[in-house]
Amino acid sequence: MSKTIVPFGPQHPVLPEPIHLSLTVEDEVVKEAVPAFGYVHRGLEKLAEKRDFHQMIQVVERVCGICSMIHAMCYCQGLEHLMKVEVPRRGQFLRVIWSELHRIHSHLLWLGLYADAFGFESVFMQFWKIRERIMDINEATAGNRVIVSVNQVGGVRRDLSPSKCDWILDELNHVEKEVKALESTMSNNYTVKKRTVGKGILTREMAYELGAAGPTLRASGIAQDMRQLQYEAFDELDFEPVVETDGDAFARGLVRFKETIQSIDLVRQAIARLPQGDTFVKVKGKPEGEVVQRVEQPRGECLYYIKANGTKFLDRLRIRTPTFANIPPLAAMLPGMELADVPVLILSIDPCISCTER
């Protein structure tokens, strides 16, 4: 057979981020895929020794610009646990609203990139067009389109006025309508199905054993979602994890598509039940002890380990991001697929390399 070795990335137009794969292919069928990392590695966990624990919020937000709010939320939850602070109920609801808005924008972004990976440019354009409404909401409510910086230890920095809430609901109606108009394309279009159905199958057992997280895991039929831990206001909101059973790229697409709709619903619920009150409490003192905190990011389970020693600098901050967990499944699903499927499969775990490498 004739072997070809393709250096795929770090600068490659279909990969949004610099990851490298050394692909050994035979007639475009992948035989071996060896990943290489380090093109985004900054070493920001180590920055905890140079920035105090308040400033670290802004740093961990920039672990990943797409799920920045949720990173910061998880970090704050950890510190609040160590400092034994209870966030006011309104603050908890607001955190849910912003985190779910982030999930919507992340999923829409992903759906577009995913479509782009299999060469469906017009779908990419559609999803990104819809996504701009969410970006507008972010900018109007939090002051920035992407990195909202709303979290602080003890609550949130911004509040929502009732008129803003109505406007958000209105915008979300539009988003929902426009997203649903694309449902048949994502689930019925012949070419989309040809490119995704049966590609990169992760069986239920494989997904679990390889430690997949988030939609990648749920598309293989396992209903595990960190929001079931009922952090923040999720104890009051109705939601069931979205599950698909096929475990292929198509199923992962569907899970994220449905989660987009679900998140719209969650934001609506949260706005409907938004209690009055403070958005944050003032915190005093320094954290001490160690804690493991987990939240559900758009890409899956995110774990923060924080060890504090009673000074304003943390002893150790460790972040295990969902993509980190999804890389082994990716490595396992690539062999046997065509070169043309590689971008689709890489996208299908919704990689966030800047999360992975921090």
Partner: protein, 284 residues
């Protein structure tokens, strides 16, 4: 006289090509809810590429590019001289082959894979075009374009299925979804820009120019299906191109295996039906 037509064709084709490509990009943008570039954008692109710093990846690259361009120009000239269709097609194939050879020259995995895929594309559309041309022969009794113009009925009436088959070839040649496999105008594919990856600057400008010629040639071939009235021709061309753009916008890019399998099976089946009908003496 034919020489004059041929020369005129060669001179005017790129301008027509620029307009077609410009409209294409604007229409695509409109379908995607965008404004799109100015109409003359393809001209700007080519002129800009022409002025870039010369840079090649292999000493024989210019050879391949110039031959590609020349082949495209000669085939357009032959077309306007109303020459033999098969000959036009073969001359055009020279260009396609040299583009591939040029991509093979460089030890870059992307251009090599692109070249291989381009070969598979050639493999996919070439038989279809030959069959379509044979269908034309069966209807007109000749491979010469002049014979088609001598017909009193449009070819489309006798070759409806072959026109669809030709549409496949058209889509592949225009590098549109679902067949933008070996190269595409944007680099949103796994092979960067496939065949075109290793060309740059002036060489790329020449390739773009040759591609314009090819577009005109293939649209010209398309126009042969309705030669009895100029309006019929225009409507047919406009509709065909519109459908191409729509298909481009409603489909994902497929893999080359799928292309080879499905285009050969459906294409050959459709052409066989149409040809059998012609062989059995069916005529309108």
């Amino acid at each position: 006289m034919t020489l004059v037509y041929a020369l005129l064709g060669v001179v005017l084709a790129p301008f027509a090509g620029i307009l077609v490509a410009g409209f294409d990009r604007i229409l695509t943008a409109k379908f995607q809810s965008r404004t799109g570039p100015p109409l003359l954008q393809p001209l700007y692109d080519i002129a800009k590429l022409w002025a870039k710093e010369p840079m090649i990846a292999h000493r024989f690259q210019p050879l391949c590019v110039y031959i590609y361009l020349a082949a495209a120009m000669v085939s357009v000239a032959l077309f306007f001289a109303q020459s033999d269709l098969l000959l036009i097609f073969f001359v055009q194939a020279v260009g396609a082959i040299f583009l591939v050879i040029g991509a093979f020259l460089v030890p870059s995995p992307f251009s090599q894979a692109g070249a291989n895929r381009e070969l598979i594309q050639i493999l996919t559309y070439e038989p279809l075009i030959i069959i379509v041309l044979a269908g034309i022969y069966l209807t007109t009794g000749s491979f010469n374009i002049s014979a088609i113009y001598a017909m009193d009925k449009p070819l489309l009436i006798n070759l409806p299925l072959l026109f669809i088959v030709f549409g496949y070839a058209l889509t592949i040649k225009l590098r549109k979804s679902p067949f933008d496999i070996s190269a595409s105008h944007h680099a949103h594919q796994e092979l960067v820009r496939g065949v075109l990856t290793e060309y740059s600057g002036r060489m790329l400008a020449l390739i773009e120019l040759a591609h314009l010629y090819e577009t005109i040639l293939i649209l010209g071939l398309c126009s042969l299906f309705w030669t009895t009235s100029i309006w019929g021709m225009v409507v047919l061309l406009a509709l065909t191109y519109l459908i191409e753009i729509v298909v481009d916008n409603i489909s994902a890019r497929m893999s080359f295996r799928w292309m080879l399998k499905s285009v050969w099976t459906t294409g050959l089946a459709l052409s066989a039906i149409n040809l059998i009908w012609l062989y059995s003496g069916g005529r309108f």
